[in-house]
Amino acid sequence: MFFLRELTHLVSLQPSQFTHDVEEQLRRRLHAEVEGSFSGRFGYVISVVDVVSIGAGLVLPAQGAAQYQLTYRAIVFKPYKGEVLNAIVSQVNQQGFMAEVGPVNVFVSRYLLPKQFKFNPSGVISCWSDDMDNRIERGAKVRLRIQGTQTYPTKIDAIGSIKEDYLGLI
């Protein structure tokens, strides 16, 4: 699910960067450092929407660098159990397939595929296909439901299912 959240970030600037465009630099740094980052609590920071405030720069003693606390609003993404998401299949194997929902890898086990899907290793790329010639192969778009998530320090992995009405290839 996507959220708009207010977050803070510390940026330190070296004395050499104390120029007229300090704010611009801070914004740039913020975008560079924060976008795409992950935290277990909030999920992935997708995009910084705006900067709410830029704190006063504190020059660190014995260091010279200044530290700014930036408060910003960002779109964060975190998958939740039960959530239905669209994903792109990235990898297909005998156990099922992996799909990507942006930064999140979702594994759909063969048990969570509809019964009629059979693994088809022949051909150029292996795929899961049913008798209607629906092929779940690399690059295919699927709609899936998150069955569970597992959080790591740097990422979230999820288990998905397409064994339900209105789920599957789109």
């Binding site: 935290s39 609590r41 156990q95 569970g148």
Partner: protein, 937 residues
């Protein structure tokens, strides 16, 4: 403060302003009409009032009273009481003022006014009271009339009533009557008919009941009040042997009617796998193919052990591979081949092409595809055999995959059916191996609640208390269920950890659950594994392992810290057992809390974590029954007792270490005061020898060790180091660092002053060294008046007197190091560190200490919000505590201990700290003290 303010403030705050006390008491106190209390109040209030009147507030009070009159709706009760008191007290110098103010409003005399007012109020009050009681009475009446007299049904009632239903001596008795076997039912029916068709001329059947048990042949039961009634009822009934009538004891009556669970026969139908108990195939796995109707025999298939060598001595066995034990005994002299040491033929699937010629001749094939060889039939390489159920062992070792494979079809792969049957076989054994912990999600397998999901509340022995999770059921409903009726429950998407088996320790996500088997996706390996649910445990709290250290994301959040803490909780408390598999990289801090070490007695006391010097030394017992005996010290214990193996008879006896003399290098036995360090020089060498250095000394690079030592001390507590009565500190300051040794270079002469333990203990008395706690408090740098005795004992800044100065210096001058993080310590950004990790100038506290105290999650003091995670402590600096702050010791010998900073001395270098539970004070370096943040971390 204006009058109004005063009153309002008083009513709200109840502060110690006089008004407040006054009003507060009246408001909170019991309603008027309780003379005793009132009297008390009056006395107090009188005093207070005196104060007012004497003070400048006298007039303001009267003014406020006037206000009251104007606002009769405010604080009525309070006013009443005030008036009462005023009245009873009479008027003192304060009232003149009062009259003046009131004159205009109330022209009457005061007496009249007050009495009248009071009467009115008294009347009102009485009226109120009456109405009140009436209402109460009414409520009570209604209650009495309509309240249920029968106690409500509660779940446990049935158990009690069951008990009360058990027969007692007053109930009819039960007789067991012998009868003709097989006629039991007929006889029961006959008696019933006799009762129904009895004519008035017949003797009535006066028994209460008659019944028989199917499993007890030759007996019927008759329930009657008297034995005569039984004889009457069974009179002229053929097939009953009334001469053999026995009374069933009251205690056994319930058992007669208890239906026992059917065993073997039922089992056979459900079981799929078993092992042969005896004979040539002892221990071999069999698959049950068919169960005979009788239930005591079944057809099994198994991998044959044919002897193809054609050895004549084995020929018989080949013919009868499934020999019954009886036959075996006759032939093989009473011993199974395996036991007799005769190598039994290996298991090998039957293949007619492998058979030697002489056997092929006997081979025949029937129309169902069975090969017959003598009495045995083979199909698909398996031997089919009818065996008695008693020969099968259902509780034996579970089938292994290899064994199962032998049963599977020719290509060696396991067909789904086989696998499923294997699973069910294992499932039957579930109850033996499954371990449940509080909090586990379970499902009830059988019994009344079968299929109900539940959560384990507690487990005691074989019974678990579960909280069923049924929609609509009360939340706190709990029932107890035998553990073997439970099965762990996991649903798709759960993160679980494998507890046992090949995949032990792996963490995965459940992708599929079928019966008792779960398929996990192990993300780390990107592979699927199949495990039994009973071997799984919810691993929600350990999603993050240390294998993937966090880089410290830009956002503050505690996820990571939680994960680090979780396994400890899970392992040590929730589980209460150390059998929990630990994940790689997990801290070894799991374990039961260590018991505080008892204070060491005697100068031989050694550091608890160090090998006792006494160990292995030759000693002589000086007191007690073993006086004069020599022996070798085998083990020591913290209470001062030593196990000595006597030379004379190799007997191990327990002797207190003070009753021992140790043989030194020269071969003479020296008293315990010299301890294991017989030579005078030893003492001084002690401090320097790195090998003997205790962890708590915190030499270079031993920060974690220092922590351990501190931990130890923390729990144990120093028995008042330096106070005269206390023994030397238990850890780190062993025998050599006691005062007498402290001088180091003082030489033998100093020892002669205190050669015995008694002398030792007397040594550090206030007279001699005056190291009393008050002494420390008084002076920032403790001086030792008795120092003359130990000339080289130089007073040291932070040294504690009982310590050798050298040791103390080493310990207490130790820099803070880089592993001091402790939860709750208030920190700020370290200005000297080249880290921009934490905001500068913000007061933070350590929300979570990580990595043995080298890293920490910090949170802002003001908001409690985690500012940054996983910050190296070098980027932080503990905020110096000020007077009366709660502190924790961050380094040196007493690391980890908490206390309160009483005062700061020595120009801010030393802090005087009081540890909880002790009356004595400790002087510690301020740099080693961390201020504690009291907000929940």
């Amino acid at each position: 403060m204006s009058d109004n303010d005063a009153r309002r403030g008083a009513a709200i705050d109840d502060d110690d302003d006089d008004y407040g006390l006054y009003d507060g008491e009246d408001l909170d106190g019991p309603p008027a009409g309780e003379p005793l209390d009132e009297d008390d109040d009056e006395e107090e209030d009188e005093d207070e009032e005196e104060d007012y009147r004497g003070g400048r507030k006298g007039s303001s009070k009267s003014r406020s009273r006037k206000k009251h009159k104007a606002n009769p709706f405010l604080e009525l009760e309070a006013e009443v009481d005030e008036d009462d008191e005023e009245d009873e007290e009479g008027y003192d110098d304060g009232h003149a003022d009062f009259i003046d103010q009131e004159d205009e409003e109330v022209p009457d005399t005061e007496d009249y006014l007050r009495t009248d007012l009071r009467r009115h109020r008294d009347y009102d009050r009485r009226l109120d009271q009456q109405t009140d009681t009436d209402l109460q009475q009414l409520a009570a009446d209604i209650d009495r009339r309509h309240k249920r007299t029968v106690p409500r049904f509660r779940g446990d009632v049935s158990a009690r009533s069951q008990h009360s239903l058990l027969p007692s001596v007053r109930d009819p008795k039960l007789w067991m009557v012998r009868c003709r076997e097989g006629k039991e039912r007929d006889l029961v029916l006959l008696v019933m008919r006799k009762h129904f068709f009895a004519t008035p001329r017949d003797t009535p059947v006066r028994i209460h009941s008659i019944f028989c048990r199917d499993d007890l042949k030759g007996y019927i039961y008759v329930e009657a009040d008297l034995a005569a009634h039984v004889t009457e009822a069974l009179d002229k009934v053929t097939g009953v042997y009334l001469s053999r009538m026995t009374l069933v004891p009251v205690k056994e009556m319930a058992d007669v009617l208890t239906i026992k669970k059917e065993d073997q026969a039922v089992d056979l139908a459900h079981k799929k796998w078993a092992r042969i108990r005896r004979g040539k195939y002892a221990g071999d796995l069999v698959r049950i193919e068919d169960v005979a109707d009788s239930g005591d025999k079944c057809t099994v298939s198994l991998v044959p052990r044919l002897d193809l060598t054609g050895n004549s001595s084995n020929a018989d066995r080949d013919m009868a591979p499934m020999a019954t034990p009886d036959r075996k005994r006759k032939k093989g002299g009473g011993a199974a081949p395996a036991k007799a040491g005769i190598a039994r033929p290996p298991q090998k699937p039957f293949d007619e092409r492998d058979l030697p010629a002489h056997m092929v001749r006997k081979l025949s094939r029937d129309n169902r595809g069975f090969w017959a060889l003598g009495p045995d039939r083979f199909r698909n390489g398996l031997l089919f055999k009818e065996v008695r159920a008693t020969l099968l062992d259902f509780a034996g070792a579970p089938p292994t995959l290899d064994e199962i494979k032998l049963f599977s079809s020719t290509d060696g792969s396991i067909d789904a059916l086989t696998l499923r049957s294997l699973k069910s076989a294992l499932d039957d054994r579930d109850k033996d191996t499954s371990v449940f912990y509080p909090g586990d999600q379970v499902e009830v397998k059988s019994g009344e609640l079968a299929g109900v999901p539940a959560v384990i509340v507690s487990v005691s022995g074989a019974v678990a208390i579960i909280a069923p999770q049924i929609a609509g059921a009360a939340r706190d409903t709990q029932t107890s269920v035998p553990v073997d009726q439970l099965r762990k429950r996991f649903s798709v998407g759960n993160t679980v950890r494998v507890l046992v088996g090949k995949h032990r320790g792996k963490i995965g996500t459940v992708v599929h659950v079928e019966g008792t088997t779960a398929t996990l996706l192990v993300t780390a390996e990107n592979a699927e594994i199949q495990v039994f649910t009973r071997d799984l445990q919810d691993a929600k709290d350990v999603t993050i392992t240390e294998q993937a250290p966090s880089t410290g994301g830009p956002e503050g959040e505690r996820q990571l810290a939680k994960i680090e803490a979780a396994p400890i909780v899970v392992g040590a408390t929730a589980r209460g057992s150390m059998s929990m598999p630990t994940m790689p990289g997990q801290k070894s801090t799991m374990g039961p809390p260590r018991a505080p070490p008892p204070p060491r007695a005697g100068a031989l006391g050694q550091g608890a974590r160090r090998r006792d010097q006494l160990l292995g030394s030759t000693v002589k017992v000086t007191q007690g029954p073993y006086k004069g005996y020599m022996g070798v010290v085998k083990s020591t214990s913290p209470d001062g007792n030593v196990k000595v193996e006597l030379h004379t008879n190799s007997k191990v006896v327990s002797v207190h270490r003070e009753k021992l003399r140790v043989r030194d290098a020269s071969g003479t036995f020296v008293g315990p005061s010299y301890g294991p360090t017989g030579t005078p020089h030893y003492g001084s060498a002690y401090g320097a020898a790195p090998g003997i250095r205790t962890p708590a000394w915190g030499g270079a690079g031993s920060s974690s060790a220092a922590y351990d030592g501190g931990y130890h001390n923390n729990s144990g507590g120093y028995p008042g180091y330096g106070s005269s009565a206390a023994p030397p500190p238990p850890s780190g300051y062993g025998s050599s660092s006691t005062p007498a040794y402290a001088p180091g270079g003082a030489g033998p002469s100093s020892y002669s002053q205190a050669p015995t333990p008694a002398g030792f203990n007397a040594g550090p008395t206030p007279n001699l060294y005056a190291p009393t706690p008050s002494m420390h408090v008084g002076s920032a740098t403790p001086s030792y008046p008795g120092m003359a005795a130990t000339p080289m004992h130089v007073p040291h800044g932070a040294a504690t007197p009982a310590y050798a100065p050298g040791a103390a210096a080493a310990a207490d001058d130790e820099p803070l190091g880089d592993a001091w993080a402790r939860e709750g310590v208030v920190v700020e950004a370290n200005p000297t560190a080249l880290h921009g990790a934490v905001p500068y100038g913000v007061e933070m506290y350590i929300a979570r200490a990580l990595g043995d105290g080298t890293r920490a999650d910090v949170a802002e003091v003001a908001t409690g919000r985690v500012v940054q995670e996983n910050v190296p402590v070098t980027a932080l600096k503990p905020v110096a505590p000020s007077k009366n702050d709660a502190i924790v010791v961050l380094a040196a010998t007493r690391v980890g201990e908490r206390g309160q900073l009483i005062a700061v001395h020595g120009g801010g270098v030393q802090g005087i700290v009081r540890m909880p539970g002790g009356t004595d004070f400790t002087i510690l370096k301020m740099a080693h003290l961390g201020k504690l943040h009291n907000a929940p971390a």
